[in-house]
Amino acid sequence: MRVVELIDVYKIYKTEFYEVKALDGVSMQVEEGDFVVIMGPSGSGKSTLLNLIGCLDKPTSGKVLINGVETINLDDKELTELRRDTIGFIFQTYNLIPTLTALENVELPMIFKGISRQERERRARELLSIVGLEDAMDRKPNELSGGQQQRVAIARALANNPKILLCDEPTGNLDTKSGEQVMNIIKEQNEERKVTVILVTHDPSLAKYGSFVIRLRDGKIERVEG
């Protein structure tokens, strides 16, 4: 099944003085269970591409289809529900809510979905033990290391059983060991639960995790490997 499809997508940022083609006619397809690694120099449009797939942003022109649904036709409420139920985000800077404990951070997407307290607590505990944080559930983000925070973020991204996991430089702020730990968890989800992963990175050593690698340059797909 084709979970993500982009057809001739442009994203142009216009200001008074200049115009940036962040994406310059990108078309691509991602099938269920794929592990896509997107690589390219800084400013090549990687994050822009990921944000369009994640329904956080809209293309200037072209089509973005998630699970066969054209996102341009959805209103804010429907886009919110799509993000909540189908997509999990993992950011370079973790982006946990600082006032909430690890457990509560993982519960948050389930709260937004309206899942009962009991059920969401059970699931949050389960997810935190999958990422190896059963002993840190009640700690706030500022009491956790970067690697631990990113693992909480992964647990949060998985909370509502998403089909697609979008990762923007998930290891960018981590040392090699923590980075490897994080990548292994993501890989595991991809292999065991058939979660489709689209991962953006600068780090060439992460190419090995991908079922294929897309190389971006100046908003265009330069080449697809693997």
Binding site: L56, T80, I97, L100, P109
Partner: protein, 374 residues
């Protein structure tokens, strides 16, 4: 859970939240305490008029050619239901001589027992048998003392007593007058009854009695005019309510300031938390969810401030009453609850209104813009 989230965000900026709460608290306290004071002031003033309020004054209708009330009119009034007492009064303006002064002064003819009931003596006694009592100001002015002799219309009377200064009254003013018994009065003047002071059994029955008197005495011609002092009570009530509203409006300026401070801290909070808002939107929070979270924060601030302010306003009202009225008994009356409730509602409403704009702004943020914010 959203409530819990709001609570924690407020705890994160403790000092700021505390200041906002104090702002609301002071505002609520000012509004309620002044309301309580105003009500006490009104009650204190009204208390002075309460025994007058169930009075009716019946006087002849000059415009229809009646100068005096007749004896039988007085008797008919006395017999009406719900009439507690009827005090007929004759009056005239007569030449009075005392020592070396002489002047035309109001002379009232009243039963001794009625005088006793209506007035108190300062010196001497109230005795109207061949003697008279004199108003305080007149006595001071003309240097009249107990046992002085004065001449009214050529007839000599001994002064039995001098009345206390009564202050302003609506029926008769004895301060510059001389009171005689009806018998003695008829020896110096042929004037008839110029007024009957009627007291109803209770304040509620004043309107009934008024109607009865008009029905009975004015059946053929408009012989009498009935004036009820309840109107005065109502006017005073009205005037004080207006003063109270005005004072509370001034006090509510402090609430306005508190509202602006909530607006300010909530706006700061939305800006500081822009990225957090972006994250929540990205992982599935509706716009309305964001709106709710921020509104809850404003409501919590308002609720805490208003509750503490309400409780303190009782102390505030007590203090103002004690300082200005030297009397705190009116703090604990039902109207106080109304003002506390009013202060509380206005405080809460101010917080909600102030929180609305920042919350709305937070909810309108585009997820991508919010996420990019550092």
């Amino acid at each position: 859970m959203y409530l819990e989230l709001a609570k924690r965000n407020l705890e994160r900026a403790k000092v700021r939240s505390l200041l906002a709460v104090i702002g609301i608290l002071i505002g609520v306290m000012a509004v309620s305490a002044i309301g309580i004071f105003g009500e006490s002031l009104k009650a204190t003033v009204l208390e002075n008029f309460e025994d007058v309020a169930n009075e009716l004054i019946v006087s002849p209708n000059y415009q229809e050619g009646y100068k005096y009330l007749e004896k039988k009119d007085v008797e008919r009034i006395e017999k009406l239901p719900h009439v507690d007492s009827a005090i007929p009064i004759k009056s005239d303006s007569l030449l009075v001589e005392a020592k070396k002064k002489k002047a035309y002064l109001p002379i009232y003819g009243m039963e001794e027992k009625d005088v006793e009931e209506m007035f108190d003596v300062e010196k001497g006694v109230i005795r109207l048998k061949g003697s008279c009592v004199v108003g305080k100001r007149l006595a001071d002015f003309a240097d009249i003392r107990v046992n002085s002799k004065i001449t009214i219309n050529g007839r000599e009377f001994r002064v039995a007593g001098i009345l206390e200064d009564t202050g302003a009254r609506f029926d008769i003013n004895p301060n510059t007058a001389i009171l005689l018994s009806p018998d003695d009065f008829s020896k110096v003047s042929d004037a008839g009854y110029t007024m009957v002071i009627v007291r109803a059994d209770s304040l509620d029955l004043v309107d009934n009695v008024k109607k009865e008197i008009e029905d009975k005495l004015n059946s053929r011609e408009e012989k009498v005019i009935v004036f009820d002092l309840k109107i005065i009570l109502e006017r005073i009530n009205e005037a004080f309510s207006q003063i109270n509203t005005f004072l509370m409006a001034i006090a509510s300026i402090s609430l306005l300031v508190a509202g602006v401070s909530i607006l300010n801290i909530m706006l700061m909070s939305t800006i500081e938390r822009t990225k957090e808002i972006g994250v929540m939107r990205a992982i599935g929070a509706y716009r309305t969810t964001i709106l709710k979270i921020f509104l809850f924060e404003a409501v919590i601030l308002g609720l805490i401030g208003s509750i503490i302010g309400s409780v303190l306003s009782i102390a505030g009202g007590y203090a103002i009453d004690y300082l200005i009225l030297q009397n705190v008994k009116y703090v604990f009356q039902p109207a106080t609850l109304i003002y506390i409730f009013l202060g509380f509602s206005v405080g809460l409403a101010t917080s909600v209104v102030s929180g609305l704009y920042p919350a709305w702004r937070a909810s309108r943020l585009e997820p991508i813009e919010a996420l990019r914010f550092e």
